[in-house]
Amino acid sequence: MSPPRKADDVVTELAQKGGVIVRSCASFPPGLPDHYIRVSIGEPWENEAFIAAITDIYQP
């Protein structure tokens, strides 16, 4: 099993590989572990791009 992923790393990967800009929740302390990202609902093409990019980088 892979080590737990950090929100900031996933944000960078989504941006670089998929051109998808989401927000790391690491800037919402206190009390939120650093493995959450916040994703807004966008235009259909943006939403499709997110689903494709997050599926692409998924590591079970």
């Binding site: 941006a15 998929g18 572990p33 493995h35």
Partner: protein, 306 residues
């Protein structure tokens, strides 16, 4: 000259969601990135709002705007009913003004965390300090625990629902009522995203004198660029808020006109909310990582392996 500056303003300020945008630009190849970091509405505002804004500008821009925001307030009363309203430059303007009426050096403010970071910054700017009131593991709020943790001298409490950034359970009106009953300070309920959920807290304004409900035209109404926020306030508090509202003019005439027309176009906003809700469900269904379901125009995703 920095020694002249108040220490609260030498700390880090608000964190904008720009870092990822810089990364995408630096990576190149993504000339048109998908902008899903700021909870913006991707759809344009009502065409009626755009027309109203354009119409008001050429003939009237030499005059000051209506300082009472009367047209917009009247539209709010028509839309929501006979409540007391105040308007400001985004809900952030309301938050600032409310804090100014209540908080001075050393005063304490409770904040249900984790949540939107601006509450804390605005409190600090007024010399106050925040007391963190942790949410439960599912990010919902237990009213008993909230009142217990917020007791002991906080004058004001911030609770965001649906909560930014966690989403999760939207608090029921009964939960909010239980807090209003037992909390001795003023509860500021931040409902920036409530149109995407539909929970109705408005009747609580008739029952409680310590409740302020903040709303915005930035999300469901697609007017983030025009900065219009408003709040339901208790009758006794309205004149106090008005006295504290500085600078003397809040909404400009373009914002007033656009917000008034947008509020009246209920068909447009309903359509947008319905599209957002459909996509929210698709995110929940199709994202391979666990998604915290919620009632806003965003979802929070847990990217640690399941």
């Amino acid at each position: 000259m920095k020694h002249l500056i108040r220490k609260d303003f030498l700390k880090e300020g608000y964190v904008f969601a720009t870092r990822a945008a810089e990364i995408a630009r630096a990576a190149g190849g993504h000339t048109r990135p998908a902008r899903l970091a700021s909870n913006e509405n991707p759809y344009p505002p009502s065409p009626k709002a755009v027309k109203a804004a354009a119409d008001v500008l050429p003939p009237h821009a030499n005059r000051y705007p209506d300082e009472t925001n009367k047209e917009f307030i009247d539209a709010l009363k028509k839309r929501h009913g006979d409540y007391r309203f105040v308007a400001s430059v985004g809900m952030d303007g309301i938050i600032d003004t409310v804090i100014r009426t209540l908080i001075a050096d050393g005063d304490q403010v409770a904040v249900a965390t984790p949540t939107y970071s601006y509450y804390g910054l605005a409190v600090q700017a007024q010399g106050g300090t925040t007391v963190s009131v942790p949410r439960k593991a599912d990010f919902s709020v237990d009213p008993e625990a909230f009142c217990r943790d917020a007791a002991g001298g906080t004058k004001l409490a911030f609770l965001c629902t649906p909560n930014n950034p966690t989403g999760g359970t939207t608090e029921t009106p009964e939960t909010i009522a239980a807090i209003c009953e037992n909390y001795e300070g003023i509860l500021f309920l931040d409902c920036a995203y409530i149109e995407f959920d539909g929970t109705d807290y408005r009747p609580l304004m008739k029952r409680y004198r310590n409740l302020i409900i903040g709303r915005t035209m930035s999300k469901a109404y697609s007017l983030a660029g025009l900065r219009v926020g408003y709040a339901f306030v208790p009758e006794w508090y309205e004149p106090i808020y008005q006295r504290a509202a500085t600078p003397p003019f809040t909404l400009n005439m373009v914002s007033q006109a656009a917000a008034t027309a947008a509020l009246r176009d209920t068909v447009h906003v309903k359509k947008i909310v319905s599209v957002v809700q459909e996509w929210r469900q698709r995110f929940i269904d199709e994202c391979p990582y666990p998604v915290v379901p919620g009632g806003a125009n965003f979802v929070m995703v847990d990217v640690a392996p399941p």
